[in-house]
Subunit: 489 residues, 2 copies
């Protein structure tokens, strides 16, 4: 089953693309794909093909693939299943090397569909065509701004490449990325994997230079494939985050009926993931949380954590979460206590977590953060800012409006002061990470937009709760342990 | 230790309040408390007291408590620790029945502070004063719009009452509530619990009519107190969600140094929580998720779940999460399959989860939802909408702008159609919950504001990931089992 690595460069970054079944009718597969390619500002040339229309969404279109002048790098098929075989023949005649078959009603619907799928895949292979799908939600690539996607999502650009055995989960992860400030380099919904499989995408992403992190949603992998060696090789080069759907018997049954995949025993998969050094997310939320962290933080060299907190309760919860996750929260040595004594009020706890207690200004927080980050006894820091937003405006409630209105200047000053403090702390945190090579994970209890801002403005992954930060750190520590073990080999 | 239930009505809904240490200087404790009371549009009368100022934030103020004309229901002390004893004496002389001591530097800082705390508490008790704190971040009550809080948070009003042994965690939960659309009836940061303890607040909230749900952050409970019987009695009347800080040895040490509480063995606490029917949240995120659900959904009568999904992958993940949480996803009986056959395309999976596959309109979704909700074989439904937002505008990217601009009308139509579909589905879901008495939990992958809208516009708790919905359902099922066992007693 071992095949040489397919070159998927042209598939992911085509210059000339035909969309067969381009449509101006909402609800048709070829409508949203065309719209998304247009809205995504594709840098190549798109040729809409529709047998019955001269124009689609205001763009002139061709009635068949043969009519397109010159070569085509990729054809997308978005017409009913019974038309696919004939179209593949035409694509072969035109010398098109890559195909994305959006069309469903193949192996996912039963034996009849499976037979049709085998037939079209064999046909494509005979003609030297590589095929994505069938039953795929499409593909995205940032280099050419190519949004060949069914759902109306405009992913952010960034260092993550993903393949997903579920189109809706994959595209939803892209959509979450928009909200989280997490950007993607390449994405493919692998569909039924009639031809190109998850192993092909994994191997391709592993050697793809702009891909710095790989993300995978898996339901079932062919046990005869070389997934394990491919995964291990990929993990040695870059982090691979994986989520497994179909972990229980009932889940496996559900998977079989939607992607046609045999999900197999979850325990075997977990063993494979561990051996290969894959970073397994246990929830969909963890997929996002962990991947975000991997784009910005160095991998920790061990599992020892310092905790800096603006509130005692948060320190308690974070410590619990660390201990429960097998991360150590070591006591402070005399030398560190001595340094912190100079900054904190006399009654501070002399404990890790370091509680800033009533000190709410930025400077002492940064000084403490630096002492902890530089401390040789820890590999990572969790910094709990607990920043509550300070509204700079006075509400217009009738009873107090007039008198408070006079204070608006003062309130604005306070809001600006907190904003500026936050800005200082975030920039300083970024510089400390560079200086120490340790991840410093911020837990800041702001809204979703606030965490997006952390990524986009400061290049820091921040989380709304300490437990999520701890879980991310645990996953990174596991990956660090894998890398360390590789070095020792 | 059993005391008669203190009447805390006047503490939580005072008509006339003195703030000792009211200040116009940002950074002082008495600044933010005063500002928050003013901004919160308090319905009673507030008397600022400051020994050295004639006016604070534009309001005339008194130099001492004795100068206030007429009676005072509650005094808030926000001045340094050494002044507290003298102020309590003055409050006693004035006949003030309730005191909130914001001031810190008591038992949380060591034996010296503990001695001072015992002294002032004894003094207050001798004078017949009930005391919140010391070292509290204050109190909130929706009835009189009373925001006696240190941090600048304006909680939403609603059915949840909370006491918290950590001020920063309690107030952060209030802030998260603003973002989640979760409203509060009463809140108290219990501080060091020198006088009034968590047991007092628990018993008070249990019989407080407008409180429909109780929320508690606990670090340590006096083992000689009647916490267990009070908790069991409360749980029989209304759901009590609890989160325990200090679950590990290291966490316990951290708790001891910030609230002075002895956290004790977590296993013993877990036993008590179970016996008392408390709903234990294992993460801070679960606190919010579960409490939100309890404000809007009926308690399920059992653990059998139907899953309706717009995407196969989501069905798989939700099924896994249910099975792993001990919730059953029973197969569809012939009668239900027969009903669904009339709505879904011929190749649908005939399985629970019910995958809508390519059907994306609202009506069939609602028809399927009704069939599943009415199915006697399940106690709850999880509905995965997977709504991707459809942007109704055309971006102004240069290459495609002109031609796409002409399609803007069509795009707006599509966006409006999805918006209207969503509106229909949410309203219909609400009516189905009323009709069937079963929780129908929406998983809709929108942004944070979208979930807030679910609560505020539709009265439905929705979640961004299936795992979070499943976990909430599990917690509700456990509480339902507790209630069932009580009935059988």
């Amino acid at each position: 089953m071992d095949r040489t690595l397919p070159n998927l460069d042209l598939l992911f970054n085509p210059r000339r693309v035909a969309l067969i079944g381009a449509s101006g009718t909402p609800g048709k597969w070829g409508f949203f794909v065309f719209l998304n390619i247009l809205k995504g500002n594709y840098q190549g040339t798109i040729f809409p093909i529709n047998a019955r229309a001269k124009e689609v969404l205001g763009f002139p279109c061709f009635s068949k693939i043969e009519d397109i002048p010159g070569s085509v790098d990729l054809a997308i098929i978005a017409t009913p299943a019974e038309t696919v075989s004939g179209l593949i023949e035409a694509c072969g005649a035109k010398g098109i090397p890559n195909l994305i078959v959006i069309t469903s009603d193949f192996s996912e619907t039963g034996p009849e569909g499976a037979a049709l799928e085998r037939q079209v895949v064999d046909q494509a292979r005979r003609l030297g065509i590589r095929l994505v799908g069938p039953n795929t939600m499409g593909l995205f690539s940032s280099q050419t701004s190519f949004h060949a996607l069914m759902p109306p999502i405009e992913p952010l650009k960034g260092p993550v490449s993903m393949f997903s055995q579920s189109g809706n989960i994959g595209t939803q992860i892209l959509a979450w990325g928009v909200e989280a400030g997490l950007g993607f380099e390449k994405f493919v919904s692998s569909g039924n994997e009639g031809d190109l499989t998850c192993v092909d995408y994994l191997r391709y992403f592993a050697q793809d230079e702009p891909t710095r992190i790989i993300l995978a949603y898996l339901e079932g992998v062919d046990p005869d494939s070389d997934f394990l060696p491919a995964a291990r090789e990929a993990s040695r080069k870059k982090p691979v985050v994986v989520f497994k759907g179909g972990r229980t018997q009932a889940g496996t049954r559900a998977a079989a009926s939607h992607s046609g995949a045999l999900a197999g025993s979850y325990r075997i998969y977990q063993g494979v993931f561990r051996q290969a050094g894959l970073i397994e997310a246990s929830t969909t939320q963890e997929i996002m949380d962990c991947t975000k962290a991997l784009t910005v933080y160095p991998i920790p060299r061990g599992n020892r954590v310092a905790i800096l907190t603006r509130g005692g309760g948060w320190g308690v919860i974070t410590t619990d979460a660390c201990e429960e996750a097998g991360l150590l929260v070591p006591p402070l040595p005399a030398e560190i206590i001595h340094k912190l004594d100079k900054i904190l009020p006399r009654y501070w706890s002399r404990n890790n977590p370091v509680d800033m207690a009533a000190v709410i200004t930025a400077e002492p927080f940064m000084e403490c953060l630096e002492i902890l980050a530089q401390w040789k006894g820890v590999d990572a820091v969790i910094a709990l800012g607990g920043r509550a937003s300070i509204p700079g405006r006075v509400s217009d409630k009738p009873r107090v409006h007039e008198q408070l209105k006079a204070q608006e200047g003062l309130l604005k000053q306070i809001a600006a002061y907190y904003q500026e403090s936050h800005h200082k702390v975030m920039n300083f945190t970024g510089s400390l990470i560079k200086k120490t090579g340790k991840p410093i994970i911020s837990v800041t209890m702001g809204s979703q937009d606030f965490h997006k801002e952390s990524m986009e403005v400061y290049g820091l992954a921040s989380y709304p709760t300490p437990e999520r930060a701890v879980r991310v750190l645990r996953m990174m520590v596991d990956y660090g342990n894998f890398l360390n073990a590789q070095e020792e080999d």
